[in-house]
Amino acid sequence: MSFWINPLKVAADWLEGLLTGWGLDPTLAHVLVAFLGVMLLIVILMVIDIFLVWIERKTVARFQDRLGPNRLGPFGLIQPFADIIKLIIKEDTTPGGADKVVYNLAPILSMMSVLVVWAVVPLAPVMLGVDLNVGVLFLIAAGAIGTLSIIMAGWSSNNKFALIGGFRQVAVMVAFEIPMLTMLMIPTILAGSMNMNDIIQAQGGRWFFLLSPLGALIFLIAAIAELGRAPFDLAEGESELVAGFNIEYSGMKFGMFYAGELLHAMTFGGIWAILFFGGYRFFGLELVSPFLAIPIFLAKALIGYWIIMWVKYTMMRIRIDQMLIFNWVFLTPLSFVLLMVTALLNVLLRDASTWVYAVSMFASNLLVGWIALEVARSMSKKERTKGEGNSLSLRRGVG
């Protein structure tokens, strides 16, 4: 196999041959080469993470009609490195009375839960960390570890605001995991497998976004809530709870939370691209070489990340009770209804032509979304008139 088709395997085989030539046990050589591969991927991810800080600051600046960092280096590109150096040389204060082990473990687990997701993300048709049979559920498992790390951070800081912020954040995160799980089932149904690579390969005819636009939208909303970004960032709202669960963290520990959140956002951009927008597929370009597939995937992930940033810097923050009611009363039933409709249509129209299948799926999504909005509108109108009716009667009673 040539270097252009499968560079990693060629490099790994060469390295393994070298190591066994030096007398190392073959399985140990294999594990060592795998370890080096994993190290390479994660170091590249951390470098991308550093540049995400720059992207974030420049984008928010442009949204707010200003320039953003432009002093250090051309276009301010050295700025994130200065930020890293600043965070490293800051003092690491631990609040008195904090639970030391849990306090230090929380940022580590938070970052780990983001990095481990990349084990199942396919970067190219042959470049995949682990070809897990249950790749889709693995995402939720990593999210569970992230949720746990937030509770640990909030509780161990010995600070009322951190405690409240941590619990609110976890309540929101677990609430929005249900629509996310349900929307993860839709690509599973359409592709017939939980394997991420299979889901990408099944999007050959058309991307799943065209088959299930409402699914993609609900997944995006649930993902933004999972990330804890605006408009769902009540728990770390800068004007409300100071900084939520990471009040007492300084220096690199705070850096882990912050950079972890940005990397998590880009990871979810990538997952959204894989599940609904074809991953590394682009009209056959990805078959030429992985060196073409990886930039395609990264471009889609960054577009997803840009959309998440766009939502953050455009919409207002929602109150916690509004968030939770929105999820449990609107989004969860809607996502289950969409799942049922998708499953039903998949079975009924399986043998029809692909054109009929695609159009009917798309139309059913729009219909379900429209009906849901109408129901929500009528219910909210009823509640609003109920409230206004009360105030009117009060006025009549007084005057």
Partner: protein, 117 residues
């Protein structure tokens, strides 16, 4: 070789990187602790009272409803994987499963348990 070994490698390296970064911070940062720095933050004033807030019962209800739906989703995943090859019978079974749980959710909502009092 068991593919989960690679997952274990990812977990290991994923733990190594943050530990390395925090250790770098520990090595290079000043360590001048004093009691003022160690006190917790409470809007700039001295912390009042113990760190124990009246914990709302709502958190528990939400976590429980989430648990029920999480288990439901886990049951539905194998159903979703095989849905491409199964017939209408399987779809109806799945729809029945989901409907029973939606009825439970509606019951919880109408009883007012989903209000953030």
């Amino acid at each position: 070789m068991n593919e989960w070994l690679y997952v274990a490698l990812f977990v290991f390296v994923g733990l190594l990187i943050p530990v390395g970064a925090i250790a770098a911070g520990f090595i290079f940062g000043p360590k001048k602790a004093n009691p003022i720095k160690k006190s917790t933050y409470e809007c700039g004033i001295e912390p009042v009272g113990e760190v124990w807030v009246q914990f709302k019962a709502q958190y528990y209800i939400f976590a429980l409803v989430f648990l029920v739906f999480d288990v439901e989703a886990v049951f539905l995943f194998p159903w979703a994987v095989k849905l491409g090859q199964l017939g209408l019978y399987a779809v109806v079974e799945g729809i029945l499963f989901i409907t029973i749980l939606i009825v439970g959710l509606v019951y919880t909502w109408r009883k007012g348990m989903l209000e953030w009092v």
